[in-house]
């Protein structure tokens, strides 16, 4: 499968998952395109579309918590930022994703 069609497939799969959790793809189309492409490349390499913005630990139980979309496993943190770590997904009410900072959980908690 070529990269473009796999990107479309991941977009379809993941859009259905994040919607009931109150998230949507970021309105920044360029970012969506870039991140999905990175995920397809990671999937081609590892067999799994891992998060492009968190590093693999080579520890299955930890690495499975950064398979996209990883919102269920980091929800408290992401809900405070209104975005996932990568910014691929944002809360449904977000229209200006550039205004959302990428904060460590410890700091985000006190914002």
């Amino acid at each position: 499968m070529n990269v473009e069609s796999r990107k479309k497939a991941l977009h379809y799969f993941f859009g259905k998952i994040v919607d009931p959790m109150g998230y949507k793809f970021t309105p920044d189309q360029e970012l969506v395109d870039f991140l999905l492409e990175q995920e397809v490349i990671l999937e081609q390499k590892h067999g799994i579309p891992f998060c492009p913005c968190q590093g693999l630990r080579h520890d299955r139980s930890r690495d499975m918590k950064i398979v996209c979309p990883c919102i269920p496993f980091h929800r408290k943190h992401f809900d405070i930022m209104k975005r996932c770590w990568c910014g691929l997904y944002v809360h449904k009410d977000v229209t200006d994703p550039d205004s959302l900072p990428q904060l460590p959980y410890s700091e985000a908690d006190h914002e």
Partner: protein
């Protein structure tokens, strides 16, 4: 700084430093060898960091893309 080759925020971080003509060293964690990865993970874990970018300016750690904090620490 520790970065990932796949992460757009890591690219923005590098661009921020390059754009301000600030020299920097970086390691792309995903492209590093196993022992380097282990060392980086140990450092990230010690600071409770789970993702990238991870930037050290003098003794300060900035985890996550944060241009205003970079500017503050660099005196820009």
């Amino acid at each position: 700084m520790y970065t990932l080759s796949t992460c757009p925020w890591c690219r923005k971080t590098k661009n921020f430093f390059a754009g301000h003509n600030i020299p920097f060293d970086y390691i792309d964690y995903d492209l590093a060898d196993a022992s380097t990865q282990d060392r980086i993970i140990e450092e990230l874990d010690a600071h409770g960091a789970t993702g990238f970018p991870y930037v050290k300016i003098d003794n300060e750690i900035v985890y996550g893309y944060n241009p205003s904090r970079y500017a503050e620490l660099l005196g820009l």
